[in-house]
């Protein structure tokens, strides 16, 4: 569909959103996502879109709230501290059923932390993030190719269910270069239907209101329960994952994004030595591939969760496994990147322990 390009993850992501039909971007500089606003600043005017460098992340997400209310495809991006600032606005979008789209090119935290790639924002992403009961559709790319190709799917899911959608990447995915091809037809926004809730010219129809509140007694619960039906449908229909060598695996690695890349290296080392190891890579972090993990828990002997955070993904794996088999953790928080070698070393330990060669912990 297009030629092979060598692009930075951030640029591939930006180009991917434009090709997916994004015509409005507002954002604020923060490392390691600066290539996204830089790219959008010249690319969007080329296609008749709007780019604004906002005065803050707070302003940026609220500009998105306004722009998205007119029914067009919008995007903002930031990195961890900036995403924290956007949470109130994201909560408003969730409450007003606006299908906004954004990326967190995450870095080490808490606080100012550092500018290295990290996965410490997992909970913030998959549990809503801001105030109130809500969910965000979360995709976790693990390559530049996925950075460029996931935005279209995010828009489609966001619009179908009227929920915010996000990409949870990290500094490594944002900064690295890899070959990629855009595997979809470029979307012409004019070909998209204007949604029936979009604000604009009300000639010949009733006025429309976009809002996240209802103060009348019991009304907000009904509003939230109706939204929860869509959440349930997303959980049933929109789960994505990649399972590698899981069929006969005695130990299954679970990892997403950059830590899945390191885990793949470990998987290859293990298989080269004849060790029965598999890898489950959640591609959607919410909805989480809970059923797949339950199914694997019935066959495998243990899980090893690899994450660039203190132990967040491991909670979701443990909830799914529900005590059937042990779930171990390899955690490298705050900007550290696990190596294939160190993961492989822990795989060997866990397999030895499984076989009763010695008892650990």
């Amino acid at each position: 569909m297009s030629e092979k390009l060598l692009m930075k993850g951030n640029e591939a992501f930006a180009e991917g959103t434009v090709r997916a039909g994004c015509r409005f971007f507002a954002g604020y500089p923060i490392t390691p996502q600066n290539e996204v606003p830089e790219y959008m600043s010249w690319r969007l005017p080329e296609v008749g879109g709007s780019f604004i460098q906002a005065e803050s992340e707070v302003a940026a997400i609220n500009m998105l709230y306004g722009a998205a209310a007119t029914g067009i495809r919008t995007m903002t991006s930031s990195s961890s501290p900036g995403i924290s600032l956007k949470q109130e606005g994201i909560s408003y979008c969730a409450g007003a059923d606006l299908p906004i789209f954004y990326a967190n090119v995450a870095r080490g935290g808490p606080g100012l932390g550092n500018i290295a790639g990290a996965q410490g924002d997992y909970f913030q992403s998959v549990r809503g993030g801001g105030h109130g009961d809500y969910r965000v559709f979360v995709m976790a790319p693990d390559s530049v190719s996925e950075m460029g190709n996931f935005p279209l799917h995010c828009y489609e899911v966001a619009e179908k269910y009227r929920v915010p959608a996000m990409i949870l990447a990290d500094g490594i995915l944002g900064q690295m270069m890899e070959p990629l091809e855009f595997k979809f037809e470029t979307v012409d926004p004019k070909s998209l239907k204007t949604p029936p809730w979009a604000l604009g010219d009300c000639t010949g129809r009733k006025k429309r209101i976009v809002r996240s509140y209802d103060l009348s007694e019991g009304a907000l619960e009904i509003m939230t329960l109706n939204r929860a039906k869509r959440y349930k449908e997303i959980e049933e229909k929109e789960v994505l994952f990649e399972a590698r060598s899981c069929e006969d695996a005695e130990l299954i690695l679970v990892a997403y994004g950059t830590s899945a890349r390191a885990s793949t290296a470990a998987l290859k080392m293990a298989r080269a030595q004849g060790l029965k190891v598999g890898l489950l890579r959640p591609i959607t972090l919410w909805p989480f591939p809970k059923k797949k993990i339950q199914e694997l828990a019935a066959k495998t002997s243990s899980f090893l969760v690899v994450e660039m955070s203190l132990g967040q993904l491991v909670d979701d794996v443990r909830l799914a496994v529900d005590g059937r088999v042990p779930v171990h953790l390899h955690a490298r928080p705050s900007g550290a990147v696990p190596t294939g070698e160190e993961i492989f070393a822990q795989i060997q330990e866990e397999l030895k322990a499984q076989k009763g060669e010695y008892v650990c912990y």
Binding site: I52, A59, Y65, G66, A69, D201, R208, R211
Partner: protein
């Protein structure tokens, strides 16, 4: 019976929740009349704030969006850049515009966004119950400064029109009041001009309306108008701070 001054089409025929003597009802009517007279109701999108006017999304008879506290100008920016053919206004109180949302206020003005802002200054927080506002007068009592605003503790009130007048991007700034019928008529002219400017592509227009909140001040509606005349006018002089001189901004911006 002959109805000389019927309800504007731009105002939905529902009962408003505002307290007796509150200025919001009058201010809403002025906005609605301006929309009617300019014939822009259908293509207008309003931004409702957080505060007493949160429910204005039910009252104005045009597409409405209600947003986070203080972020009206950012939301209006997103709407206007996406739909430059629409007329976009943000209706905000003093806590919303001059406290939590001061950043958005200043930067939307600095960018010269072609939007209209209706700013209600009643020197108090209404919906949350009479706390000190950024515009609360020196010595004025509030539920968070029960002994009166003290500069040692609370600093000084913010004069929004004077502040924004420093910015090249702000094109039209006028302060008006609602405390007498004559002032209401003048306020109407200012509100209409702020919308006309946007229709003409002239850029950022803000009308600051001195208004009443008798409930939170614990006084009668009449006393509240007297409070404006005797106290607020001295701190907040009425008048035009920027007159929308010059022509259009670059309307090719989107």
């Amino acid at each position: 019976m002959l109805l000389i001054n019927p309800r504007p089409e731009s105002l939905v025929d529902v009962k408003m929740h505002y307290c007796p003597g509150c200025g919001h009802g009058v201010a809403h009517r002025l906005v609605a009349e301006a929309m009617d007279e300019l014939g822009i109701r259908e293509r207008t999108i309003g931004v409702a704030p957080v505060g007493c006017a949160v429910f204005s999304d039910d009252y104005f008879n045009c597409d409405m969006i209600q947003g986070a506290h203080g972020r009206g100008p950012a939301i209006a920016t997103g709407l206007k850049r996406t739909r430059p053919d629409c007329i976009v206004f943000s209706y905000q109180g003093d806590g919303d515009l001059a406290s939590i949302g001061m950043g958005e206020t200043i930067h939307s003005a600095a960018r010269g966004e072609n939007i209209t802002i209706i700013f209600i200054n009643n020197a108090t927080y209404g919906m949350t119950g009479g706390q000190m506002a950024p515009t609360t007068l020196m010595g004025q009592k509030a539920s968070t400064c029960p002994l009166g605003r003290d500069p040692q503790v609370n600093g000084y009130p913010i004069k929004v029109c004077e502040l924004l007048a420093q910015l090249e991007g702000a094109r039209y700034l006028e302060r008006v009041s609602l405390h007498t019928a004559a002032h209401v008529i003048k306020a109407k002219k200012a509100v209409k001009k702020a919308f006309q400017n946007q229709v003409d592509g002239k850029g950022f227009s803000l009308v600051e309306i001195l208004s009443t909140c008798p409930t939170n001040m614990g006084i009668s509606p009449l006393e509240a108008t007297k409070f404006i005349a005797d106290k607020m006018l001295a701190q907040y002089p009425l008048g035009v701070y920027k007159g929308a001189e010059g022509g259009k901004i670059d309307v090719s911006r989107n």
